[in-house]
Symmetry: C2
Subunit: 424 residues, 2 copies
């Protein structure tokens, strides 16, 4: 089954926007056993879009088009598709109703220009867009099924999942399994799983996906025989056993922060963070989950050493913090330990007897501030229940990472230290 993807819009050609939609298409189609065969990206130029449609029609069974459905003058996808079909562009009653409802939903008046989004080639069917004003549409013509979607990911993703993907028959034998890991390089995974990889029949294959700072490992293939199904299941089992707690999730939708939040909630534990080098990123990630308040209490971003001292003093740990800062410096195991304990104590002062876990980070995110002894990329982490430090870690990132990457990596380390403690 040949699937072709066409993304339309100058902003993806001139680099203003990084095209993540086509990666999304690829990932989702792979889940049902298809790899898109052809891909074109075109400017908002009618002749170019028309050429792209004509080329796709010669070689694809399904064509997924995104972009150019909006109300502005450079949104010409529907107009060009009408020309391609040789059909008129006309007000589409169902699309007009969809536009009307979309504006009612966001409580905005409809300007005349907005009705353009309901002018479609004759004969197409509407694809609902609950997150935007431009409906998508679809048509099967001369043996090719066309799907037109908006370019905005927030609108495109649900439309694709709910109304496009179900229209493309999956490979019924296709199976896939994912392991979400981090701090394991592709090379290391290869090394640890070499014998399992070598034993794999050609119908099954592993794939790697790097989403800094994570590595995701996948197994997929078309299991057309009982023997292949059996081999697939056994391989899944062996890999899970081999990777152990280095896997934080076997569910692509369960992020590390969500898995930490869910574990804490299930165990009635309240989470606190005391952050220096991560600058609030741990807190931000812990509060990204709906219902975060069930497991998350609050955080202290103690960026300046005065802030570290202040939080420690309020927790009766002022002397210990002073000693740690003077003797070992802000970036040290000792400071991280007092920070974590102070955070938990702050929560306990308001909630005596509660179960609390506090995680701290103190390190050097760079680009400046590093030294030979404490280089950029060094981070100390600790987890405490208020009484004592339950877990701590000294982490040195590889050279060459940028500040935002280091913040992300340190926050990942902090969440993972919490996860391991929660699972202990």
């Amino acid at each position: 089954v040949n699937i072709e993807i066409i993304t339309i819009g100058r902003e993806i050609l001139d680099g203003r926007v990084i095209d993540t939609n086509s990666a999304f298409f690829g990932q989702q189609l792979t889940r049902v056993g298809h790899v898109p065969r052809h891909f074109q990206r075109v400017d908002d130029i009618a002749a170019d879009i028309l050429s792209a449609f004509r080329l796709a029609a010669t070689r694809a069974r399904y064509v997924l088009v995104s972009g150019g459905l909006g109300p502005t003058s450079d949104d010409i996808t529907a107009e060009v598709f009408a020309k391609f079909l040789g059909r008129p562009l006309a007000p589409h009653p169902e699309a007009r109703e969809a536009v009307r409802q979309a504006f009612a939903r966001i409580q905005r008046p409809i300007h005349d220009t907005q009705w353009k989004q309901a002018h479609l080639p004759e004969g197409v069917s509407i694809l609902p867009n609950p997150n935007g004003t431009a409906p998508g549409f679809t048509l099967t013509h001369d043996g090719v099924t066309w799907f037109f979607m908006p370019g905005v990911p927030r609108e495109l993703y649900p439309m694709f999942l709910d109304h496009v993907l179900p229209g493309i028959p999956p490979d019924a034998h296709f199976q896939k399994w994912m392991w979400m890991t981090h701090f394991t390089s592709e090379g290391e995974l290869q090394h640890r799983l070499g014998d399992i990889i070598a034993a794999l029949p050609p119908e099954l294959s592993f794939f790697y996906r790097t989403r800094f700072p994570e590595n995701h490992l996948g197994l997929s293939g078309s299991c057309t025989t009982p023997a292949l199904k059996k081999h697939f299941a056994e391989t899944v089992h062996r890999v899970s056993e081999r990777l152990g707690t280095d896997v934080y999730s076997e569910d692509e939708l369960l992020t590390l922060e969500r898995s930490v939040g869910t574990l804490a909630e299930g165990r009635g534990i309240f989470l606190v963070s005391v952050e220096s080098c991560t600058g609030g990123l741990v807190a931000h990630r812990l509060t990204d989950m709906p219902g975060a308040s069930k497991s998350y209490w609050g955080s202290f971003v103690t960026y300046d050493n005065e802030a570290k001292a202040l939080v420690a003093e309020s927790a009766g740990l002022g002397d210990e913090m002073r000693t740690a800062l003077e003797r070992h410096g802000a970036v040290s195991e000792e400071t991280a330990g007092v920070m974590a304990r102070a955070g938990a104590q702050q929560c306990l002062s308001k909630r005596p007897g509660a179960k609390v876990l506090s995680v701290s980070t103190t390190g050097i995110a760079g680009p400046d501030g590093g030294s030979a002894e404490k280089p950029v990329g060094l981070c100390f982490l600790a987890v405490s229940d208020g009484e004592r430090v339950l877990a701590s870690e000294k982490f040195q990132a590889r050279p060459g990472l940028a500040r935002d990457q280091l913040k992300l990596l340190f926050s990942q380390k902090a969440l993972d230290l919490l996860r391991r403690q929660l699972q202990a």
Copy 2:
């Protein structure tokens, strides 16, 4: 000048890797006045790559190809290009020397398979690759100039900048101007600038870019005559005047958080945040800038009401916070005000007499927790110097936004309230 981009590799079709190379090409080419006209992405399949080359040869003056230059069996770009040219693939002496040096640099032995990277179509010239083992190559053939580069960004970027971009003549007349705005929809910009847009000659054009929650407006065009240059400059002036303080930057690299940090640093002001609904995101954004410690002191993520009370108590505002919480609730102008004052006071307790600005957020990021009176998307913000509340805002986001979008939007509001206060 028609420029075509071809990226090769299954990993970008099936979504394992997000293709950022083409955005990089677009950004760099736009800087010298070119927007790539055509783009194809193809699988590691010889027939598909050959078709892509043939199509590009019919319409492009410059073709930039990335991917498929490595030593493995699915790296077939050079082989297919040789077939396209009708020339033999042969050991290329200069390329062999480049491979030899590359392996010497990383102190690894050269396996036989590695020499494949030096088998190139006859007549091509080498493009040096200081960051990898596969050299790039270039050839002008039948009026089309071809550039072949590796797919790995770390290898591709310097090769492109040093050896490809200089080979493409820039449009010397090209001019571009950007305005970074937020809380102005594309429709609203159109409405406010309608007369200026209507007066634009066809050589110049506006473009929009939505990076939620921001909108960026751009003006660009090839100013080949003095009249066009004058019109361009006048338009820039009129737009800047019209949009006023709704523009936070006219420099694409100056993000809102960076502009806030720079303003604070210049005025010797220390920044503090006290965050409820943003959950640390304001702190995270303020610490994303290198050298953040020059203007950023610390934050309190007071997610639980106990945390709000605790921070207020330490600042001697315990009674006021109790009253605000009891009478008006956590999501209220009053609570936001006490939060902001408490944050500034915490900093001042350690740094008496300092200039401090503290920003607070308290709202409902959803998806649950909303009511008729206080719906999801409501947020109160305040800025204080410790003494009093200098600025405050009640903000209601439009319906339909997800939790992560609301957190981002609220954090944007907070940073913008700081910016306006710093510029006041």
